[in-house]
């Protein structure tokens, strides 16, 4: 078992009768990139705030970097909150220096580090500008830099991609990968699945405060049955005997009309879809269509929390 930098055991938070977070347990391995996914109002920010001990959980235990409270290891954690903001009147390099110093860095060391980061991530020309002169996206990049300037072992980013243009989203993805390559653990929350899919080793999916799924990306995808879509006028009975084919049923098109010649073949996780294709050739089944797509994380998300997310929106 890998070393865990953060583990939550039955952690929950109540606001009055409302359970914002309902008994979540997770364990985050060192050096991983961990995605915290969930629809709006799922409890992501509350979970993050509890991890950081900005608010106290109503129940459950947290172990962070080997300590029961984030306050003990504050200087080893970097944090970017969901709503972004910086002191408007400060210079860009000075604000990074300031936050790094609050995390225990020496003055000169923090200043050097600020300039180094600004140069590396393309903000050197703005180093002497005041924060109020920056665009929203640039301000957000500065804030990310100020969260990681002190080389924290654990970086927690709440919705780091929101409000960034595609180019800067890529820059941020690079930054997160850099951190991970450096052995630092990154936890970030998002509701944009593509980022999570590209970056994360592990994800936690929560909805309405409950843990829906916790595991690797491929494990997540396995929760959706893998399927091959076929269109043929021939009999498909021969396919039923393939080992690993679990079920064949008429394919539901998007408009919920069952067409007579389209089939959906569910295959087990370890089965290569090529086996189905090969069998079709051998049994002379004429195919008008053969379609196999790995499910995306987006599909997983919709599959797992779709109904609940919709319900939450109309609540």
């Amino acid at each position: 078992m890998q070393e865990s930098v953060l583990s939550l055991t039955n952690v929950g938070k109540n606001y009055g009768d409302f359970k914002a977070v309902d008994d979540v347990s997770i364990s985050i391995p060192k050096g991983s990139i961990y995605g915290l996914l969930g629809p709006n109002g799922a409890g992501k920010t509350t979970t993050i705030r509890m991890i950081l001990e900005i608010i106290k959980p109503s129940r459950g235990d947290i172990s962070i970097l080997g300590h029961p409270s984030a306050l003990d290891v504050r200087n080893r954690i970097g944090y970017l909150p969901e709503e972004k903001g910086l002191y408007k009147k400060m210079k860009v390099w000075a604000i990074i220096q300031y936050f790094a110093m609050l995390k225990g860095m020496k003055k000169q060391e923090a200043k050097d580090r600020a300039w180094e980061l600004l140069e590396k991530y393309g903000l050197k020309d703005f180093a002497e500008a005041k924060v109020e002169a920056l665009s929203k996206g640039m301000g957000q990049k500065v804030q990310v830099l100020s969260a990681v300037a002190h080389n924290p072992e654990l970086v927690i980013l709440d919705e780091p991609f929101s409000g960034l243009d595609p180019v800067n989203q890529t820059v941020l993805e690079d930054l997160i990968n850099d951190l991970s390559n450096n052995g630092q653990t990154v936890i970030f929350s998002t509701h944009v699945m593509q980022h999570a899919e590209r970056l994360c080793d592990h994800i936690l999916l929560i909805a309405k405060g409950k843990k829906i799924f916790d595991g690797t990306i491929s494990e997540a995808k396995a929760t959706i049955p893998r399927r091959v879509i076929l269109e043929t006028n021939d009999s498909i009975d021969a396919l039923r005997s393939i080992a690993g084919v679990n079920n064949i049923e008429p394919f539901d098109t998007d408009n919920n009309e069952v067409s007579a010649n389209q089939w959906q073949v569910q295959i087990a996780e370890q089965v290569n879809p090529q086996v189905v294709l090969k069998t079709c050739f051998e049994k002379s089944i004429n195919l008008n269509r053969f379609e196999f797509n790995e499910p995306s994380l987006h599909d997983v998300f919709v599959h797992l929390v779709g109904e609940e997310a919709k319900a939450a929106e109309f609540r």
């Binding site: 608010i55 944090y79 002191y87 009147k89 300031y98 936050f99 609050l102 100020s146």
Partner: protein, 527 residues
């Protein structure tokens, strides 16, 4: 812990001190103060020369009135000359008392101080300005500018040629009315100007003299001397005329009664000096000097300084907290430092900004005094010296910090509960108003520092810093000092503890500030 507080305090300090607004606020106070000083001087010098007409149909008083107006002019020269002397003579010493005057210059200054009328007689008898200049010259500093006497304020105008005098007072007024209301200009010494006033003494004015026992004249009648002028506020001319005519009448009464008026005047000038002595001073030092009087009033300066400075700090405290809150910077901060460290850092940083304000004020007054040396500024510098060397300094420092901790603790808690400055301002209004009470009382408290009501109010912690500082110069009873201090320190601890809790909860709140009851629940709830 301490390092974090220091870091936060330093940033808060810099953030405030580096803004233009801070310096504008700071400098506007001395600028207004100094501006007022110059404005006042300029205004008193800028009073225009006023032209008047005297028509004495009785033929008895014209001379007396003219003498009186000349006398008023001489009085101004005397006053002006004395302040010129104070400014330019050598060996300035404000600790002077009546007992140790030495030179004739000191004598003159002291006489003017003690009995101006007598001093003026003396001045006129001895030859006025020319004599005084000769007498004072050995005592003046080498670089003293030559003395310039002030222009006369009242000049008798030439009677317009068309005016017929051998008619009734009503007709004279009618003839001169266009001049009095400003429709026509009058000439005097070759210059033209507005007629300021007309003094009309009717022919049989002596019938209206009132004596003890006669029925007083109705105030709205035209009996007696008539003073016609549109300006009703400048009373110097009517006062001088009234005084001179009455003096003349009395002189005649004395003569009728066979009393020598010189004897009377000499009797009236007899006086016994009253020296204020301080029983708590050391032997030989009991005489109360000007500096001692300042010392008694110094608490007012301190109380006022404290009030202005606290009010300024509070604004910064509120706006900074609300900025952090609305920007959500607070969340990052709380992931780095504890709420207590954040709060203490803010209090210390902004407190230092407040001290900077006070230092800049004192410095700017000092520069003003050094670079603009005059009689009045000597007085200010004397006050400043008394204030700075005063034994009140430790009191001021203590009560400043105590008052700051108490009030800003409350304001910080309020700031943490509000998302906008507007919301906050509604909530801090009662806290500002409550400070008006000790401020409004401060002049009274200096006069009667150990009054029962003042003593009782001193025990209310929100008043304690102001009232006890106000009373500090008058040796308040030990029970008051110790008791109120204990109460004050206890309430500061309580307020900081409570604000710490509210702050912790408030900074992460969004939306409307909580109701009072909800607030109590928040503070009492365990987190």
């Amino acid at each position: 812990m301490f390092k974090m507080i220091q870091l936060i305090a330093y940033r808060e300090y810099q953030e405030n001190v580096k803004t233009k607004g801070f310096w504008v606020t700071i400098l506007i106070f001395p600028v207004i103060f100094i501006g007022m000083y110059f404005l006042q001087t300029a205004l008193s010098n800028a009073t225009p020369t006023r032209y008047y007409l005297l028509i004495d149909q009785s033929g008895q008083y014209e001379e007396a009135v003219n003498i009186a107006i000349e006398r008023e002019h001489q009085r101004r020269i005397l006053q002006d000359f004395v302040s010129y002397l104070l400014e330019n003579r050598t060996d300035m010493d404000l600790d002077l008392t009546a007992a140790n005057t030495s030179s004739s210059v000191d004598q003159l200054i002291d006489d003017v101080d003690a009995d101006e009328v007598a001093a003026l007689d003396e001045w006129l008898d001895s030859g006025g300005l020319n004599f005084a200049l000769t007498m004072a010259s050995p005592y003046l500093e080498d670089d003293a500018p030559p003395y310039e006497q002030p222009d006369p304020q009242f000049i008798e105008a030439d009677l317009p040629r068309s005016v017929e005098l051998n008619v009734s007072p009503e007709e004279i007024i009618n003839q001169l009315r266009p001049y009095l209301v400003g429709d026509r200009l009058i000439t005097a010494n070759g210059e033209t100007g507005n007629l300021f006033a007309l003094v009309l003494i009717p022919e049989n004015v002596n019938q209206d003299i009132s004596r003890p026992g006669t029925t007083p004249v109705a105030p709205d009648s035209t009996a007696g001397v008539q003073y016609w002028a549109r300006n009703l506020t400048d009373s110097r001319l009517p006062d001088a005329i009234s005084a001179s005519i009455n003096a003349e009448i009395r002189e005649r009464e004395y003569n009728q009664l066979g009393v020598n008026s010189d004897t009377i005047r000499n009797v009236q000038r007899t006086r016994l000096p009253l020296n204020q002595l301080d029983p708590s001073a050391e032997a030989g030092e009991e005489a109360v000097s000007m500096a001692d009087s300042f010392r008694q009033f110094a608490p007012i300066a301190f109380v006022y300084l404290m009030f202005v400075s606290l009010m300024q700090n509070v604004q910064y405290l509120l706006s900074n907290t609300i900025e952090e809150k609305s920007n959500r910077i607070i969340e990052v901060l709380l992931a780095s430092v504890t709420a207590d460290e954040l709060m203490m850092g803010k209090l210390v940083g902004i407190g230092l900004a407040g001290l900077t304000t006070i230092a800049v004020w004192l410095l700017s007054f000092y520069i003003f005094i050094v670079s603009y040396d005059s009689n009045q500024t000597e007085l200010i510098s004397e006050i400043l010296e008394v204030v700075l060397s005063s034994e009140l300094i430790p009191w001021f420092v203590f009560y400043y910090f105590a008052g700051y901790a108490l009030y800003s603790g409350v304001f910080l808690a309020i700031g943490s509960l509000c998302s906008t400055l507007k919301e906050a301002q509604a909530l801090i209004m009662p806290m500002i108003l409550i400070q008006i009470v000790p401020i409004a009382m401060m002049a009274f408290v200096v006069l009667d520092p150990n009054n029962a009501i003042v003593r009782a109010l001193s025990w209310f912690p929100l008043f304690t810093p102001y009232l006890m500082l106000n009373r500090a110069a008058a040796d308040p009873p030990m029970i008051d000092v110790v008791g109120t201090t204990i109460l004050l320190v206890a309430s500061i601890l309580l307020v900081l503890w409570g604000s710490g809790k509210v702050f912790k909860l408030g900074v992460l709140r969004t939306g409307q500030p909580p109701k009072i009851l909800e607030l109590f629940r928040l503070v009492r709830a365990k987190h």
